[in-house]
Each structure stands twice: as structure tokens, then as C-alpha cells.
């Protein structure tokens, strides 16, 4: 197709609108209400261009480019004087009520409205009348509200309600008084509210945690990073100033998180700045210097039998360095045995099975989804957002017949109305996705697995049969099976959160049975932590074996890396283990019960102070870069271990000098991770002989920020592990997609500049979306279905089956340490069914006492009619709740209740 812009022909793609086409071609065309993920509604009238009938048409007419599909031999003009004047006037009108706030506005310097105002050339306010004002609302610990600044583009409600399914943000009043907010002050309920800060083109919604230590975008030292708070591995940009991590923003990755990230990822960063961080190496209560630590450890380790306990929240490099240091046979996974087995099962399913594992982008395009046992909004929030988009897919198929393009958001929503594509959710308790689900099924994990096996058998006779279903269940299974088999791109989603292998096996059976009929069918499995899969890929023993090794005297020294054992093992056993262990060497960045027991405590770097690689739930290997050089004694875990390995003369480690060497050794040693060294360019990579700067060209205060300590500026640190530099100097063009430290283009200071980094607007980044997937589906005609027989759930007297309930805020260890996220963490509780609570004669908020696996609990009760009978939900991983392996039977302690009544 040929499009003439200002009389120059361009080759363009059909099916797009003029605005995205112009932006893809590199033109600067202002816009507000349009967003690549939200589509066009033509509300702001800002993207006007002139369109001409043909070559001879000299007059033309003004059109909104976001509402006009491209057509062959179309002629438009962006530079036409009338169009430019129109755009300038639109801004001028928008600005009549915009306050004189830029100096005190957190958006300033990364503001789309500022950029667009400069782009159109509007400079002076000619409107002499008074400005409209609004009262602000309290919107919770994450988002700051400043309603005066609003330009009524409606992006916030379109994202919050239409895209993310939120219910408590809306638009009120009329004409120039329209108000975007809640019906009353209160915490924004959506788990994706943080994206309002990026979606809002101006400063109405801004990051409240950034406000606590405000820094302009241009002053941040930023590096591409990967979110550490769940297994999805969303890409983020982490920004530092004055030695403190200051903000997290989303880093576009077309295949992974797209434009958005969840609130846990955006606001969970402050544990990095916590005053109680471990910053100094301590040997038996004595603070020692960096050089001395290795010497002491060498002394300790040289004469003892050492085991190493890795971590699912440490990078592949750190885990690998530990494995090499202690030897393959002495390397243990620091996760509970159940999680260890589940992670291995996930690898087995993804590696040996025929169904491909899908990215979030592919889930968005699915037209039928079946979720088994996962509360996605709380375990893998961004996946829930992707599923929410997928339910629109099937109703949108009718668009093709009536000639409405998919980007025409207003028309599409008018047509689709409340129609939803198929989404089936089998979960223990209600999930936030239930409102868009076709059908939900709440029961015990084993029952969910049995439903899954039944569906798989209906899809493929080779899959084992599941006979003992109730009539309603078999009807549901039949419905699910028939809809899944009719879908073009069905997706099965499951994960480790209900900690039952049968559920994963059932999900695999369904996906494989579907895949036999339909090559498009895929599977998505989520995992507990950011590097669970990477750790499992490395091989290693169970945690229980580590405990036994020490308790039986096979080892006396343990190196525990970035791992709080009390989160993965029962308190009594961990206590015993740490007591018997002669030397406990702990590397960690934040204090926890395990670090308190350490003989030698070594400060390791958080993700912001480290280079490393993670493997996300789809098996995508992704690199994160150090944002700033750590102060005091903090170093990456792998660097500490490398120093130790060199000092001890470990053969494999003695020739490693840098991050690069470890990565290459991993590529050689670990079959799953053979491409890990290709994920990002090597440390020696230069563009025109230059590094890629972490700082913008406007970065300020270079010669003053440390002048209070010494007026002579220190030499900036040199990064030996990556091609990024810690300075403003370096290559200013587009860096390789895996190492984009910030999005900026001339005239585009806000995040909207992403369109300059994409091949086409909303598409992949210029040299491909970063990350390399390490699973390729196996082409096989003979599928080895799982044959297992989950037990039928029967409630027992004086017992409740305790199942884990996940919380987006609280279940994850590190984010829960951040003050803002901590404010949203629920207090520990136990959830029981309404009828069960009546039987137990216990009311809401009264304390229930019970025992699980020898671990006593006494917790306030939450009553829910959706909790299946005979079961109880216990929040997973909340601070203050001791670990227990779930699901397990809890024995009710009636005596305790009786004593309480006294």
C-alpha cells in the first residue's frame, strides 16, 4: 500500500489507522486519547491531519488521523498550515484550565502534555478568564491525585475500567467539570492502578512512592531490569539517584509485559532502600572488611564439609557460582520439597510435552482459556491482565464481517457490549477474574485436577479416564471440552500456587490432548518466584536432603544464599538444622530470621545493585543490569562466591574473572541455558566505540552531588560486566533492545517515546523483543499422558483441609518489605466456609485455633460462602505466618476455643 504524506510516497501496512502509521514512519504527530493498547476513540481531536481526495485536490479536509484507516493511494498532509493551526488551537483549549504547576508536578520532564504543547507550538495563554479547579482524593499509598491538571482525555478510565477491569475509578459530572476519580476517597482497588501514572498524559495520577524522594526522569540513573516479584519476569526500568532506588517503570517488551506492569512490581521496590538492609559483613558479631571476609571464610570452609543452599529469588549466575563452589553434589535448592517437585514437573511438562509454552502476548490473543487452580491476579498479576484481554477475542471475531477495524475501540465496545469469550476458572476460592469467566468451579485442588483429567479424556481418548465425577461436574467437563476443542487458539493456564502436582498434570494432559487436534493450543504454567525455573533447571537436591545431610553429620557448614529458610521449611526443623550446623554462612541483602542465625553474614546486592539473569515461567531467559554501584561492602552474591572460589582454588572458578565468564560457563555446563550468553550483548560490546549511557544527556548535578564530601569529583565507576556506562557520555542512538536504559526521543520525553523504539507501533522492539526462550515444543506423535489418581475430597470431622491463598501484596517476600506495599498487606487470617463457621460456632474475626503438620496456629476467622466446605484458606507467605507445607489437613483445637471463652 502506498500512502502519500505531504506528497511523498510511503509504503505502509493495511489495517492500521493513520496515526499509528504516521508514528511508525517516524513522524511527530501529537495525540492524547489514543494509546496503542487502548485503541482509538477520537475524543481529544489532537491528531488532526489534512486529507485530500486526489492529487488535484488542493483544499482537502481535516480528519482525525486516529479514526481513519489507511487506504491505498491516500493523500494526507501533516504539515499543512490549517492542520497545524487546528492542532495548536486544540492544545490551547486544553490548556485554558491547566494549572501553572509544572515546577511542582511530578510528571514534569516526562509529561506527554508538555511534549505535545511544545510540538504544536502553543506558548502563551490568551484565555483571560478564571481557571477551573477540583478537589483531590486520597487514592491509597500508591497513587497521588491532582485533578486540576486533567485534560479530559479519558485514558485513565479506559485503561482502568475497560482494559484492566477495575470498578472503582470512573468519570463524574459533565462538560468542563468532568471529574476522574472514585465515588469517595479510598484506596484504588485494581492491582494495575500504577499504570495510571504512565497512561495519564499529564500529572493527574502520579507515583506516590516516587514523591517521597522525588527525582525528575532526566536525573535518574536507569538501567534495564527484570521484575523480581513473580515468575512472569516483566521488564522494568529501575532508576537510582543519590545511591537510592527511586522508581520502577515498565519497560516495553512486546512479548512479555507490553506497556504495563502490576502494582507489586511497580511499588514493591523500596525494600532496596530499607534502613535495616545488611550493608556490612559480620563475622560472629564483629564487623569485618571486605578483604578479610574471604580470608575468614576460606579458613572456615577449608577445614569442613560444606553444603550450599541456593535460592529461587537469586539470579542464575549466583546459583551457578554457589553450585560450582560447593560442588554439584552438595548443591541444594532452597525451596520446600513440594515446590522443588512442582518446578521439576513444570520443566518436564514444558520440555518433554508437545504443547508450546506461551508468552503473555500470545495469551492475549487466545480465544478460549481454561485456568486450573490459579488465582492469577494474586500469583501472576500481569497474566490475569492478559487473560482479561483474551475474553474479548472471540466476540471481536465478528468485526471482520462488518468491516470495523480492531483499533476502533469505541465502535468495538459498542458492538461487543457485554459479550465475552470462553474463560473457565477452576480454583479453590473466588478470583478477581470470576467477573469475566463463563463458568467457575470452586473446590479442593484434587477435585480441580479430577475435573481437568476428565476434560483431557473427553478431548483425547488416550488420556486417562476420570470416572468418579458428579453429574454436574461431568456436564461442566463436557462443556469445557467442547468449547476448548472448537477454539482456534485455546490456552490452558495452571501453576504451582495450589501446590498440587495433580493439577499441573491435569493441565498438561488437557493442553497435550488439545494440541493433538490443534497446533495453536498452548500451555502457561506459573511458578512461585522470579527464578524458580532457572534454579530448577540447574539440578540440585531437595532442601530436606540438606537438612538431613547436616543432621546426620555428613556436613557441618552451610552456605545459604539469598534465602530465608523459614519461608521454605518448617520452623522446628530449620531451627534444629541451624543449631546443629557448625558454621552458617549467609549471603543476603535484607535481614530475616535466617540471617539472624548466621555466623558469617555477607551483604549481597539486590537486583538493583546486581547484574544477573532470570528465567521466567515461559522459560524466557532475561538479563537484568546493575542500576548503580553498591556502597559499603555490598556486592553481588556471585561476586562474593567468585572471590571465595578463587581463594579456595576451585578449578572451574579460578579462571573466571567477571560476569561474562560465569555466563559463558553456564552456557557450556547447563543444557537448558545454552543460549544464556546470547541474551544480551557481551561486556565488550560498543556502538561506534561507545558504551550505552545509563544517564540521560540532561542528567544534572554531576559536579555537586558529592561535593559536600569532597570537592574533587571521584572518577565515575567503570562497569566491567556490561556495555552500559554509569555516565552521561556514550552512544545516543537506539541501543540493542535488551539494554534500553530509558525511553527518550527528541521531542518525546515521556514514556510515549516508546513508539520510536518499535518496529511498528505496538509491535516488537526494533531488533526483536529481548529474552531467549529455552523450551521448544517436542514434535511427537506418541504423547505420554500423566496417569495419576487424585483422591476424592471428603470433609472430615474436626479437620479442615488447609489450602494456600495468595495475595498480590504480602505473599511475596521482598515486596512486602516495602512500606507502600506493606500498607496493603492483609493481616494474617484463616478463611472458612459460612456453613463450617456455623458448625464451629465461630464468627467473623473470632480466633480459630488449629494445627497443621505439628505447627500450631491461632488466627482470626474470615467467613466466605465461596470457600468450599470442609476446607480453609491460609494466606501464603504473609509476614508473621510460619511456614507449613500445604495443602494439608488442619486439626481443629477445640480446647483452645473453650479456654478462650473462659
Amino acid at each position: 500500500m502506498t500512502l502519500y504524506i505531504d506528497n511523498k510516497p510511503y509504503d505502509v501496512k493495511a489495517g492500521k489507522n493513520l496515526l499509528e502509521t504516521c508514528l511508525t514512519l517516524g513522524f511527530d504527530l501529537p495525540y492524547f486519547c489514543w494509546h496503542p493498547s487502548l485503541g482509538s476513540v477520537g475524543a481529544c481531536r489532537q491528531c488532526a491531519v489534512k486529507m485530500y481526495r486526489d492529487e488535484d485536490d488542493k483544499k482537502g479536509r481535516l480528519i482525525m488521523s486516529c479514526m481513519e484507516p489507511v487506504a491505498n493511494n491516500q493523500r494526507i498532509s501533516i504539515q499543512d498550515a490549517e492542520a497545524r493551526e487546528f492542532r495548536e488551537h486544540v492544545i490551547e483549549w486544553l490548556m485554558t484550565n491547566h494549572p501553572h504547576d509544572c515546577a511542582v508536578c511530578d510528571e514534569g520532564g516526562s509529561c506527554h502534555l508538555q511534549d505535545m504543547t511544545v510540538m504544536t507550538g502553543h506558548a502563551y495563554r490568551r484565555f483571560n478568564f478564571k481557571k477551573r479547579t477540583h478537589k483531590n482524593q486520597y487514592l491509597g499509598p500508591f497513587i497521588n491525585h491532582e485533578m486540576n491538571r486533567c485534560i479530559q482525555c479519558y485514558r485513565c478510565v479506559r485503561f482502568y475500567k475497560d482494559y484492566a477491569g477495575g470498578k472503582d475509578l470512573d468519570v463524574f459530572a459533565s462538560r468542563s467539570n468532568v471529574y476522574f476519580g472514585r465515588h469517595e476517597d479510598g484506596v484504588l482497588e485494581s492491582e494495575f492502578s500504577g499504570n495510571l501514572t504512565e497512561v495519564c498524559p499529564t500529572g493527574v495520577f502520579t507515583d506516590k512512592t516516587l514523591k517521597q524522594h522525588y527525582t525528575r526522569k532526566w536525573d535518574l540513573t536507569t538501567a534495564p531490569s527484570v521484575c523480581q516479584h513473580c515468575s512472569l519476569g516483566c521488564n522494568i526500568i529501575a532508576g537510582e539517584r543519590y545511591g537510592e532506588l527511586r522508581s520502577i517503570t515498565s519497560r516495553y517488551n512486546g512479548a512479555v509485559n507490553g506497556y504495563f506492569i502490576c502494582d507489586r512490581g511497580r511499588f514493591g521496590y523500596e525494600f532496596v532502600n530499607a534502613p535495616g538492609r545488611i550493608r556490612k559483613a559480620v563475622c560472629d558479631t564483629e564487623v569485618v572488611r571486605k578483604e578479610e571476609v574471604t580470608e575468614r571464610m576460606k579458613h572456615l570452609i577449608g577445614s569442613s564439609k560444606v553444603i550450599g543452599i541456593g535460592s529461587p529469588r537469586a539470579s542464575v549466575q549466583s546459583n551457578f557460582a554457589l553450585k560450582m563452589l560447593v560442588g554439584k553434589n552438595n548443591f541444594y535448592h532452597g525451596v520446600s520439597d513440594n515446590e522443588h517437585d512442582l518446578a521439576n514437573l513444570v520443566i518436564k511438562i514444558l520440555h518433554e510435552g508437545p504443547a508450546p509454552t506461551l508468552s503473555m502476548k500470545e495469551v492475549e490473543l487466545a480465544d478460549a482459556v481454561f485456568i486450573l487452580g490459579e488465582d492469577l491476579t494474586n500469583t501472576a498479576p500481569m497474566m490475569a491482565l492478559a487473560v482479561r484481554q483474551s475474553v474479548r477475542r472471540q466476540p471481536m471475531e465478528q468485526l471482520a464481517h462488518i468491516n470495523i477495524p480492531a483499533w476502533h475501540d469505541g465502535a468495538v465496545r459498542e458492538l461487543v457490549q457485554e459479550q465475552k469469550g470462553p474463560l473457565f476458572i477452576a480454583s479453590v476460592h473466588t478470583t478477581k477474574l470470576d467477573d469475566v469467566a463463563t463458568e467457575t468451579f470452586h473446590s479442593s485442588p484434587d477435585e480441580i485436577a479430577r475435573l481437568g483429567f476428565a476434560v483431557a479424556h473427553l478431548l483425547d481418548d488416550d488420556s486417562p479416564e476420570e470416572a468418579s465425577l458428579s453429574p454436574e461436574e461431568s456436564k461442566l467437563a463436557q462443556k469445557i471440552a467442547s468449547i476448548l476443542s472448537m477454539a482456534k487458539r485455546p490456552v490452558i493456564i495452571s501453576g504451582a500456587s495450589c501446590e498440587t502436582d495433580h493439577v499441573l498434570e491435569a493441565a498438561a494432559n488437557i493442553a497435550w490432548a488439545l494440541h493433538r487436534k490443534n497446533q495453536q493450543a498452548g500451555i502457561v504454567l506459573t511458578l512461585p518466584e522470579c527464578n524458580s525455573l532457572g534454579l530448577a533447571m540447574m539440578g540440585g537436591h531437595r532442601l530436606e536432603a540438606a537438612f538431613n545431610a547436616v543432621l546426620n553429620g555428613h556436613a557441618d557448614t552451610a552456605i545459604i544464599m539469598e534465602n530465608d529458610l523459614y519461608r521454605h521449611g518448617k520452623k522446628s526443623i530449620v531451627d534444629e538444622f541451624l543449631k546443629v550446623c557448625k558454621n552458617i554462612i549467609v549471603l543476603d541483602h535484607s535481614p530475616n530470621p535466617t540471617t539472624e542465625k548466621a555466623n558469617i553474614l555477607i551483604p549481597s546486592g539486590t537486583f538493583a545493585e546486581s547484574d544477573g539473569t532470570l528465567v521466567n515461567n515461559e522459560g524466557r531467559i532475561q538479563r537484568f543490569f546493575q542500576v548503580y554501584e553498591a556502597t559499603e561492602n555490598i556486592q553481588e552474591s556471585w561476586r562474593w562466591l567468585l572471590g571465595l572460589g578463587t581463594a579456595l582454588g576451585v578449578d572451574e572458578m579460578s579462571h573466571w574473572k567477571s560476569f561474562e565468564d560465569i555466563t559463558q560457563a553456564i552456557a557450556k555446563e547447563e543444557p537448558f541455558l545454552k543460549n544464556i550468553d546470547k541474551v544480551s550483548p557481551p561486556a565488550g560490546f560498543r556502538i561506534n566505540g561507545q558504551r550505552v549511557p545509563r544517564e540521560t544527556h540532561r542528567f544534572s548535578g554531576r559536579t555537586a552531588m558529592l561535593a559536600n564530601i569532597n570537592v574533587s569529583e571521584p572518577k565515575p565507576p567503570v562497569d566491567s560486566d556490561s556495555p552500559l556506562s554509569y555516565t552521561m557520555e556514550g552512544f545516543r542512538g537506539l541501543p540493542p533492545s535488551s539494554m534500553i536504559p530509558f525511553f527518550w526521543a527528541p521531542g518525546w520525553n515521556s514514556v510515549q517515546s516508546i513508539n520510536k523504539y518499535q518496529q511498528e507501533v505496538g509491535g516488537p522492539l526494533r531488533d526483536g523483543d529481548p529474552g531467549i526462550r529455552c523450551f521448544e515444543p517436542v514434535q511427537t506423535s506418541k504423547i505420554q499422558y500423566f496417569k495419576s489418581d487424585p483422591a476424592i475430597f471428603e470433609s472430615q470431622e474436626d479437620h479442615l483441609l488447609i489450602v494456600p491463598l495468595h495475595h498480590i501484596f504480602g505473599s511475596e517476600e521482598l515486596s512486602a518489605r516495602s512500606p507502600a506495599v506493606g500498607e496493603r498487606c492483609p493481616a494474617p487470617y484463616v478463611m472458612v466456609n459460612t456453613a463450617d463457621s456455623a458448625d464451629l460456632k465461630i464468627h467473623e474475626n473470632e480466633e480459630l485455633s488449629f494445627e497443621v503438620g505439628g505447627q500450631p496456629y491461632q488466627l482470626p476467622v474470615k467467613v466466605s460462602s465461596e470457600m468450599p466446605r470442609g476446607m480453609a484458606g491460609l494466606p501464603y507467605g504473609l509476614p508473621g505466618l510460619p511456614f507449613v507445607e500445604l495443602p494439608a489437613w488442619g486439626i481443629l483445637n477445640k480446647e483452645m476455643k473453650w479456654m478462650k471463652q473462659q
Binding site: 515546577a103 511542582v104 491532582e146 459530572a173 525528575r216 536525573d219 548535578g701 561535593a707 570537592v711
Partner: protein, 171 residues
């Protein structure tokens, strides 16, 4: 020969010209108010700090010698937590003053800042902040900004309507 005598004569005659040399420091030159010397931070007419910590001066500074951190009081008024200028780097270009949206940072006609120790040329907020409005009297940024601060709620700034009642149905 003649030219040598002529040159000597001209030089000799200079003894009777008006002196151009100023006997500094006993005798001081009058400098205009727009003279770009020492940098100060000024206060608004209500004696509140004018600086709102917007970072524009720091961004404009060609030698990057200004460094600050913005913070807020309990009523939402912004001010710099610290404000540091490294005068050993400053080139007195005046870009910071030009960039300042609140007339807070100003260059004044004082240049007597010599120090024996370079470290003493690092000025902190206590060295920079003066108790006056400097060259631009009368301007009060928060009176024209839309942000609510202590003592000025929404709709109370100059040229502002009272806050919209969202629940009103009146046109």
C-alpha cells in the same frame, strides 16, 4: 629617531590623564543589578522559601554544579531538602536564573568569594538562602500555582474558580 621621542612623549603625557585604575578593595566599583555574581536563593513576600525544588536550574546548568533534593512539608508545599552549589565549578552563566520558574535562584552583583581552600566553595542551602526577595519583588509562585498548600486551598489562588462540586447537576 623621531618616532621614539614621540612614543616617550605620549607615554609621559599619560601621567596627567584621569586614572583608570580602581583602588580595589579600598575603592569598590558600582555594579549593575543584572551583574551575574554570587548565586542566592530568595524568599517570597510572605518570607516562605521560593525554591520549590523543580530541578530546572540543575538541568540548565552547563557544568552540572547544582544538586538538590525536593521534599514536601505536611501541607504539600515543596521545598529543597538540600541545595548545593559547587562554586568551584560554577561559570556564572546565569542559566539557572533564567530557568527558574519561581524567581528563587538569582545571581547578584557580588563576586568576592575567593577562598584558599577549594572545599569552602561548596555552598549549602544555609549559605545560599537569603531573607529577601532579591531582584524580583512581589512574586509568589504558590499564589498562581494550582497546588494546594498550607494556608491556600484549592481554588484560592489568583485567577481561580472555587472547586467544582462534582455532585451538582446545574449546567
Amino acid at each position: 629617531m623621531f618616532s621614539i621621542i614621540r612614543s616617550m612623549w605620549i607615554t609621559f603625557m599619560h601621567m596627567f590623564h584621569k586614572r583608570e585604575t580602581v583602588q580595589y578593595p579600598e575603592q569598590k566599583n558600582k555594579l549593575t543589578t543584572r551583574w551575574r555574581g554570587r548565586i542566592v536563593l530568595t524568599r517570597d513576600p510572605d518570607m516562605g522559601e521560593r525554591c520549590v525544588g523543580c530541578y530546572l536550574c540543575a538541568a540548565a546548568c552547563p557544568v552540572d554544579c547544582i544538586s538538590l533534593q525536593a521534599t514536601e512539608d505536611e501541607h504539600g508545599r515543596r521545598y529543597p531538602e538540600f541545595f548545593r552549589i559547587n562554586f568551584s565549578r560554577c561559570i556564572f552563566c546565569g542559566y539557572c536564573e533564567e530557568a527558574c520558574p519561581t524567581y528563587a535562584i538569582q545571581l547578584i552583583p557580588d563576586f568576592e568569594m575567593g577562598e584558599y581552600d577549594r572545599q569552602n566553595l561548596v555552598y549549602e542551602k544555609k549559605d545560599l538562602l537569603i531573607d529577601g526577595q532579591g531582584k524580583y519583588p512581589g512574586y509568589n509562585y504558590y499564589k498562581v500555582a494550582g497546588l494546594a498548600i498550607g494556608g491556600k486551598d484549592k481554588g484560592e489562588a489568583q485567577n481561580e474558580d472555587p472547586p467544582v462540586d462534582v455532585r451538582s447537576l446545574l449546567p
